[in-house]
Amino acid sequence: MIGGSVSKWTMSYFAMGIAWLFAAEALMIAGFGYPAADIAASGTLVLVHVVAIGWLSMCICGALLQFVPVLVGKALFSEAAALPVLGLLTAGLIALLLGFLALGGRLPPWLWLLPLGATLLVAGFGLFAANLVLTMWYARPLAAAARFVLVGLAALGATAALGTSFAWALAGYGGSVLNAVLEAGIPLHAIAGLGGWLTLTAMGVSYRLLAMFMMSPDVDSGRSRTTLLVGAVTLGLAIAGGLAAIAIQAGLDLVFVLTSICGVATVALYGRDVADLYRKRKRRVLELNTSMAVYAFTSLAASVVLGLALALRGSFAADIGAFVFLIGFGWLSGLVLAKLYKIVAFLTWLETYGPVMGRVPTPRVQDLVVEPRATKWFAAYFASVWLATALLLAGQAPAFRVAAFGMMLATAGIVQELLRTRTLADVTTNARLPQGAKLPRLLHS
């Protein structure tokens, strides 16, 4: 069978991811982690990993289990691996977070939790990556979007390797080599994770989803290959160059300058490709997922401008929190939320009505959603994120917590829309559940 069926556990991944997003927002409202705490404090480590692993990685993994088979036209190598991965990632993240709390003195000094968490996460991500790589291996030659995912997975490997070495070093099992990597390598871990794994993967999947949802011709494969090549060079420079600099005990400044030049070029090339997808679309009226994605792209562009401005002002290190916040919540979270809105509706529609389609009248995908109502929540979300970024730059930690509260309210609104979609609550036609169609289960397809 060619991979166009509904992946069983994708909704569970999304639900787990959303639960962690709420947790992250609650932490920010409570003033836990940056900016209330130092950027390197254990509370900040908790917050960053809740967002990067719990929320973003969980949702992207769920989406990839569904869409890699579509990208390559082959069924997933193992559908059975999806649930163990979800369990391993969740257990690993919890152990890691507890380890960070132990590190900060909020728990007894059970520092072995850090390597334990890292090992569970490596097992989870490793199983996940092996599943996708084998799926792609049997589907060669690879489509352009799938190549992005492959490079994203390589970056995930680098992120996990660096993170694991930090975990062992922080737990006191490091030795001089791992300690040296820990001392200078944290920015490399962040670049590999946020820039490589999360951003390159999101870029690759967005090429296909935007083309599908807007009826655009796929981006010319030569052009997307250039974008990917520059992106991969950026990562290679950052990780290999960074590690080499650490090995010869040189400073990382040159590595960061070269990485930022290549990184800006990657975003510019990606922006050109995305503008093309919008320009050449056949579906003239934008659906909510594609119009809200524009705000995510705007956030990505804005974070590049912000990063350059901070670097020129010489305050990049001091204000890095605002820069990372805008990438994490404006670009990545914004894109994931916008795409979830469509993916949940489409998969629910396919699961419910696919079996009876053509035999009885069925609602359209757009009948499952009420876009004007959802638009308000998305507008509130992006407004809160941009306000929060500005408040971070202005050093207004208390006001930042109010903006974080706005983010949580908006997220709750969006999630309520997703739940209504999943339960077909907004389908008003008589054909809501025609004979032979069943209401889908919330978390399992």
């Binding site: 599908m212 009826m215 056949k282 696919g354 389609m357 053509g358």
Partner: protein, 167 residues
């Protein structure tokens, strides 16, 4: 003068076998410029789109007894990277329904193809033109017991799908 490799799928089909992979293997094995002379117990219409996607023109002649000889000749300029995908078997008559779904918003093409497929009699076929490979449609067709055969046409952007009802 084009040279042709003979491929006779009549014994395979008579034995209830699956000729598609044999034909594709032949396509992979011929030298550049070489063509394929196919012998089939019916006019293999769905194959024409697939072979066009691989860069072959066709010309068919009935050789009596309902059997056909088809010459697949390499085109002058091969099309850009065609992507064939297929699942075939048995006899494929001329399509009873032809749909042009290229201008429809997704997932409307899928809904229409499934609706039209439900009206086919046993063994009848329909053909549809699409703007992209309908990956979410395939599992639905397979679940209902339909066979299908699809591939991009030489223009590289039109996907031709032929669906055959279970006989």
């Amino acid at each position: 003068m084009t040279e042709y490799l003979d491929v006779d799928v009549r014994p395979i089909l008579r034995a209830g076998g699956e000729p598609f992979s044999v034909i594709m293997a032949a396509v992979d094995n011929i030298a550049p410029g070489q063509g394929i002379r196919l012998f089939a117990p019916f006019k293999p219409v769905p194959l024409f789109g697939v072979m066009a996607g691989k860069g072959f023109d066709h010309s068919e002649t009935e050789i009596g007894g309902g059997e056909w000889q088809v010459l697949f000749t390499p085109m002058e300029a091969p099309p850009p990277a065609p992507v064939p995908a297929a699942q075939a078997g048995g006899q494929w008559p001329e399509p009873k329904i032809r749909l042009d779904n290229r201008e429809l918003d997704p997932p409307e093409p899928m809904v229409r193809i499934l609706a039209a497929a439900e009206t086919l009699g046993p063994g009848e076929t329909l053909s549809a033109l699409l703007a992209r490979e309908p990956v979410f449609l395939f599992p639905q067709l397979e679940r209902r017991g339909f066979n299908w055969l699809g591939g991009f046409l030489p223009d590289g952007v039109t996907y031709e799908l032929t669906v055959r009802a279970p006989s």
